[in-house]
Structure formats: structure tokens, C-alpha cells
Amino acid sequence: MHLHRLEKIWLGIGFSMLCLFLLVLGIMSLTMGMAPPGGHHQSIDPAKVRETAPFDKPMLKKIGENEYEAVFLAYAFGYEPHKMEVPAGATVHFIITSPDVVHGFEIPGTNVNTMVLPGEVSHVTHTFDTPGEYLILCNEYCGAGHEYMMTTIIVK
């Protein structure tokens, strides 16, 4: 099909930009570990979440030098554990599931933003360099109390 010279240039520039974006995204995701959450496939029976380890005891566990595992339950309408505190510079691996409906797990001011689905376990990691009280909120509509669903994580 005949393309006008200017159209060839226009599409060429556009297509090259798209390829460049895809290359950058692909390299960072596939080789530098900056992937979207969900790489770890781990399913769980949603009806038995509160009896299945580690979700029977949601809590923070130290696993290394300034490295932690934070097991969370996202439920209608809150998060367990209700309070969490880590030192500045801590790398936290969040492990989250839901015993009921779909929820979100978003920490404004960070790139922590993942969906929590009944039947699956969500994994997302963040290093909290700056001290402060970080808000964790549910950004996926889950019912009448959705706008109250929150907790905080204190970074000292």
C-alpha cells in the first residue's frame, strides 16, 4: 500500500519511540528485577485463608540484616496486622492475601501498588529509605466500608 513520504517519516518516528519504550521497560523488568508484582505464582484456598500459614498469624518477621517479611491480610474493611514498625532503610517483602473480596494495597509516595485477590497470594517488595508514617490504603472498591480501609506503617 502506498504511503506518502511524510507519513512514512511520521510512522517511523512513532514506531521507533514505541520500540524504545518497550526495550527500556523490558530490560528493566526482565533483567533488573523491576517487574510488575505477580511474578511469584502462589495460590491459596480463599475459604481457608485464616487457617493457612503464614496467614493464620499476620505479622512482621525479620529475615536478615534490615530485611523483613510482612505477612498481611487484606479484608473488608481493614488490614491485619493493625500496626507495623520498621527501621529506616528496611527492605520489606509484603506477602498479602484476602479472605473475602478483591482489595488493593497501595502505599502513596512509593511504588507499592498491588491487587489482592482471593485465591492468590500477592508479593511486592519495597525499601523504606525515608522515615515517616506511611499510609496503606485499599484502592479497589470492596464494599460499603471501602473508604475507611487503611492502616499505617511507621518507619523510624
Binding site: 500500500m1 526482565l30 495460590s43 491487587m115 485477590l117
Partner: protein, 557 residues
Amino acid sequence: MKQERQSTITPQALQPFDRQDSGLVLAHILFAFTALLLGGVAGVLQGLVRGGMITLPASIGYYELLTAHGILMALIFTTFFIIGFLYSGVSKTLGGSLYPAARKLGWTGFVLMVSGTVLGVVMVLLKKATVLYTFYAPMKASPYFYIALALVVVGSWLSGYGIFYQYRRWKQTNQGKVSPLFGFMATVTMLLWQVATIGVAAEVLLQLIPWSFGWTETINVLLSRTLFWYFGHPLVYFWLLPAYICWYVIIPKIIGGKIFSDALARMSFILLMIFSIPVGFHHQLMEPGISEFWKYLQVVLTFMVVVPSLMTAFSLFATFEIFGKSKGATGLFGWVRKLPWKDVRFFAPFMGMLLFIPAGAGGIVNASHQMNAVVHNTLWVTGHFHLTVATSVALTFFGIVYWLIPVVTNRVLTPALNRLGIIQTVIWCVGMFFMSASMHTVGLLGSPRRTAYTTYGDHPDAVLWMPYHVVMAIGGTILFVGVVLMIVNIILLLRAPSGHTEYPIGEASDEAVPTPRYLERWGMWIGLTALLVIIAYAIPISDMIHSTPGSPGYVTW
């Protein structure tokens, strides 16, 4: 392009629009705008609540309003307008009137869709379906809500079959000829819709209805979401393609120019169909249970669907510049002054085109794989789709009304009505600027979408969002004024003076190359689409079916 079927002295363009087809078209348009008005009422209330300016009485819930707003605006207004518009162009260009079988299919589809809409809205108002327009499991609505959705979808299939039937009959009576551009594009649009809705139909008929009736105990949540978003992405192209039909086929006629390239216009539609479907994962980038590989593959396919939009942008500017030069414009931008800015039939769609630049750019950001984490489920996304569907598509549809209603009712657009149309367009753009710009900004700051008024216990991050929510409320109120004015304009159009209005169908430019026949090898294009869908979805879906356990239902509202 000559229409050989017409043997009378009057050229087809000057023949009045078929009287029987008028009824069908008008019914769709008026139902669509009724939905827009009701959806607009819900929308302005939501904005005022989130901006902290009003509290709702106990009998109305924020999330019921939000569910109604999403359904009425994004499913009902759009689908009804699109089908009405497509039927009008198909009637006009594929023979001058609808065959009885096509018209019957059109009406049957209409009745089913109206029944589904009414049933669905009633269920929402009765608080039995406060699940938003995405109705994510395992929130469990009344089975009658899901039945309502099925009625709307099945009705739309029948409407599509009417268009396919008309197209096939035209091809049979015009052997060896390339179909008129409008008819071709309408067929691609409904074909895209047919393939896309298979996903949501499977979700509703095979998962949600049996589960909500209690015939099955659990539902595979990840699978249901995947089937929904298999549908949910091409849904936005179902909205966009009719707007593109206006830009490609109608606008050249309105400005007095020619279609830049019939062949490339058709090619862009084929590419849009192929690449808009196997890409639903870019709405699920933040979900567990889908591997990084499949997410990235679908991101690559998503970026491919940008190409036909780039082609469209080029085509439009080429059309405008060539038109301008034909009127004596000189210099790089001289053609800008030659365009009919004071004609709402051009101005409204043009503002839609212009705002598609930030709208589309935002879309590329959303689809950018891991970068989606910055914007997922924040108000940025809401800002994005209020630019794409609620501005680019909506303003184009509004612009169409100013000639379509006169065409089908044998009336004329008056200068006064034209002026009101320009005013409505400007009001819309101003309101949308305030609302969408503040949504984009506050979304980047982390403010979540689909959330009622809250400051999260006066947390400093959330308190920082409030000024933006106030600007959103102001923008939303201005937009509501725009909705009301649009309804007023439609009422006035229905009472405009009688006269003949030509259906504005563009003609191809003389230098354009003949259209390659392979563009109408439907089997090949459908086959290619199916192949891409299988490549993008077969393995991840089979994984989900085998490894994700089912969940019981919950009524959390």
C-alpha cells in the same frame, strides 16, 4: 464513488433519509442521551461528595451512584449511540435504506438492550448490585443484575447481525465492488464488538449467573477478571472506532474537503480490530497469578495498537492541510485559518481530536508494564478515561447529533442552534480541563479512584489531596451544566424548522490509490485476530483454570 443501485434522477445524497430507518436511529439516540442525563446526575453528586461539599441522604449510597454512573455512561450511552449512528450510515451508504431483515434485527436488539438497561438500573437502585460497572467477583450481586447485563450484550449482538446482513446484501448486489467506507468501518466495528464480548458473555453466562443463583458454590476470581478485561479493553475501541468513522468519513464532507486515503483508513480499522483484543492484561498488570512474561507480551501487543491511531492522526492533518491549500492557504499553518471553526459539526469533533493527544499519551503511560504501579487504581486513570471516552468520543458524538437529528427528522440546523452547540462544546472543554487535570495530578499523588469521601483519619497525605478534589467537584459541576445544555440542544433540534439536511458522507480524493481487495478478506482478518488471541491468552487462562482455587461470594455493601 458512484452508487449504481440508485436509478432515479435524484443523486442518493439528496434523497431524504428513509422514514422507517429514521425511527430506529432516533430511538437509539434519544435513549442514549436519556442515559447520559441520568448518568450525569450521578456524576455531579459523586464529585460534590468527594470534594467534601455535600453529604448524601441515607437513602442514596455513593457506591450505588458510582455503579449507575459507570453503567449508564460507559455501557449504555455509548452502545446505544454507536448502534444508532452506525445504522444511520449503513442505511444511507449501503443501499439507501435498510432491508427489512436488518431493520427487524435492529429493533429486536434495541428492545432487548432497553429491557436489560431498565432491569439493571432497577437492581442497582434497589441496592442489590452495588458492584460498580466492572462487577468484580467475588462481590456477588443479584442474579437479575447479571441477567440484565446478558440482555444488553445479546441485544447488541442482534444489532450487529443486522449490520452484517445489510453489508452482505450490498456485496451481493454490487459484485466485485469495494464497499462504501462507512459500511466497511461499521462492519469492522461490530465485528470487533462480537469478538470482544465473547469474554464478558462467558464470564456472565458461565460463571456469574450460575454462581449468583447458587447452582455453583465458588467462582474462580482471577479467571472472571481475565474474561472481563479480555472484553474491557476492546470495549474502548468499540467506543473509539465510531468516533474515527466521524473523523474519517464525515468531517471531510463537513469542511468541504476529501478523504485523504480510503485504503489507509480501512487498513487502520483492520489493525485496530486485530490489536485491540489480545491485550486485556494491561488492565491487570498489578495482579498476582499472571506471570511477568504474559503481561509483557500483551504490553508489546498493546503498543502495536498505537500505530493505527498514529495513522489516523496523520490522515486527519493531511486532510485538513490539503483542504486548506485548496482554499488558497499558504505557509506551514495557513490551513488552520481555513477550517470552519464556527461550525459545531466540525468544532466539537475537532476538540475531541485535539484532546485525544493527551488522552492517548496517558494511555501509553498506563500500559507501560511496571510503570503502571505509579497510576493503577488512582484518580489518574479516571482522569485518563474522562479524556478519552468522555471527551474525544463524547464530543465527537455530540458533534454528530447536530446533523444526524436534522437528517433523520427532515429538519435543518439553525445558526442559533449552531451557536448553542459551540457554547456547549466550550463549556464541556472548560469543565473537563478542570476535572481531568486535577484528577491526573492528584492521582500521581496517590489518591485512589472509586472511593467515597475520606481523609483516611486525617492522614497528611490524604489531606493534601483535598484541594484537588475540590477542583474536581467544580469541573464536574461545569460538566453537568454541559450535560443539561446538550439535552436542551437535542430538544431544540427535535423542534428545529423543517427542511432537507444532506447526510454528510465524504468522498475520496482523486489522487488516492484504489483500495486493495485484500482488506475485505474477512476470513483472513478474523483468523489473524483469533490467532493472536490464542497466542496471548490460551496458556495463561489454562493456568488460571487449573491452579487458582474458587472463592465463595460476598455481599459487602
